[in-house]
Amino acid sequence: MTTIVASARADLLRVRKWSATWVIGAAWLVLMVLFGYVFNYVAYRSGSGSFATEGVVGEALLRSVLPANVPQTITGGTPMFGGALMMVLGAMVASSGYGWGSWKTILTQGPSRVAVAVGSLLSLTAVVAVTVLASVVLALGISTSLALVEGVDVVLPSVADLGQGVGVAFLVLLMWALFGYLLGTVLRGPALAVGLGLVWSLVVENLLRGVGNLLSWVETLTTVLPGTAAGSLVGSLGASGGPEGAPGVLTTLSGTQALVTVLAFAVLLPLLAVLVIRRRDLA
């Protein structure tokens, strides 16, 4: 256990001091602010609908940027760009060390391979958790400021709603980060892992859902895919999906089924990564 903690502390140090981690985290926050607040608020102030807000009345636009909507705002972007960004992070954290030779160095330090791998996964989990917390703080700050500017009552989301939003955002982002970690571990290089991961999360799953309308067995298959599960889990919180809402947010699965699937991925993906790391030759 102590070696796992030591490995997690060590991994956290190298991940914390890596500019890539901060760039990816910042990209997520910027996109969340743009799509969650800037576009909606500008559309509300200018009174004109945009491509994303067409047909949504002004009141709804204003409501979407107020504190009570924070759970939906922080989860709305997770199935699409949030998940993709965390997938990139996971792939880079896992795979860069093969090219640099740093995994080789680390695996001769003493902790077992399992301890090193679990430590690294824990540090990745911590980064995802910090990212979600930063999203909450930022979203609450912006929405409260906007409420004050607009002179409306500051109504915070209930603790249960906020907790649910934080939990869902964390799970979805973590699942994609772990997906990236497994890809990076298997492929041992960031370029291929990131490329294939992005094609999968942004293209393949959407295409399969399209094909699913024609072939029932493909439709059945899509229900157990990570993108569908993540989209449905976020959709179950009431974040708006469909053509007018955030892309990737779905209502394909029930909330419970989506939660079970996402949790299953969050357990299975790191387990596979640890197995691969434990078995492989580092030549």
Binding site: A6, A10, L13, G101, W103, T105, Q109, L282
Partner: protein, 308 residues
């Protein structure tokens, strides 16, 4: 001194049809500097990787510090630099070592000591990617030294170093041995190995050709004599060095005698009426032995480039 720190039995690694390491039995004793010698591609690094648990042997076994190679209880007592330094390029040298210190559960204070030991203190705060090849190599050695491990495995530690850096590295290795640490050093630089190693293992084409002390490997020193007439000189030299102790090399004789007996040899030759034109010691270098051995081991003469 005779306690075995590393012992392998029939250690073999096969990649597809290629046999990278073939039934290697090597032993490293406590407190010695063991030179693992062989040309590029001979199987040195593959063997070291098996000793560190980075790769699994196809067959055979390796024991390090009395336990199976690669087990966590072993690796935490071993410091290693294998096949070039592997670090995070964006981290400073100091932070890279701090990461490793955390893995080893050592206080961060060991980092500065390690940097000082390889004369990198002044550049410890710079990003690893900005280091020269030699500095990267020295950082790799610093990482291997952290926590005063019982066994230090250094794979080609002088790669990329300038002559001053190479001399400093040799002094460091000798110093480590003096302080009781065991060093397993792989190299293709024969002079380096001859200078600092107590025992050597010569590996070629995956097979350990010989394992012995450097002195045993080099054999008796020889004196090279140019004297005429050669036949009479040969007879005199044989009286002193024995029938098998003299070798004719063109117009010269190679006499198996230590340098301090050359005066005696000259007196005997002159006393027998032989004209002596030149006498000088000709020690066999490890390089000579190595070429003889690898040529015999592989059944073909190796080109000099292959070991340089």
């Amino acid at each position: 001194m005779n306690e075995l720190v590393v012992q392998t039995a029939g250690l073999t690694k096969r990649y597809g049809t290629r046999l990278a390491v073939d039934r290697v039995d090597l032993t490293v004793r406590r407190g010695e500097v063991y030179g693992f010698l062989g040309p590029n591609g001979a199987g040195k690094t593959t063997t070291l990787r098996m000793l560190l648990g980075l790769i699994r042997p196809t067959s055979g076994a390796a024991t390090v510090l009395g336990m199976p190679a690669g087990s966590p209880a072993v690796t935490e007592r071993v410091g290693a630099l294998v096949e070039g330094p592997g670090f995070m390029p964006y981290l400073s040298g100091r932070d890279n070592l701090a990461v490793l210190a955390r893995y080893r559960r050592l206080p961060v204070s060991v980092v500065d000591g390690a940097l000082e030991r390889v004369e990198l203190s002044g550049r410890g705060g710079d990003a690893f990617r900005s280091y020269s090849l030699g500095m990267k190599q020295r950082l790799g050695v610093a990482a291997a030294l952290m926590g005063d491990p019982e066994l230090i495995v250094l794979d080609e530690p002088t790669n990329g170093l300038d002559p001053a850096g190479m001399a400093a590295m040799r002094a460091l290795v000798v110093d480590l041995a003096r302080s009781g640490q065991t060093v397993l050093l792989s190299s293709h630089l024969l002079a380096e190995v001859q200078e600092i190693c107590h025992r050597v293992g010569v590996i070629h084409d995956g097979r350990l050709l010989r394992e012995s002390t450097v002195a045993d490997l080099l054999g008796t020193p020889r004196v090279q004599v140019r004297a005429e007439p050669v036949e009479e000189a040969l007879a005199v030299a044989m009286r002193l060095a024995g029938d098998d102790g003299v070798q004719v090399d063109g117009a010269e004789l190679l006499v198996a005698l230590p340098e301090e007996r050359s005066a005696e040899l000259v007196r005997a030759l002159v006393g027998a009426g032989v004209d002596v034109h030149s006498v000088h010691p000709r020690d066999r270098s490890l390089e000579d032995v190595f070429f003889e051995m690898t040529a015999a081991g592989s059944g073909r003469q190796m080109s000099e480039e292959k070991v340089s």
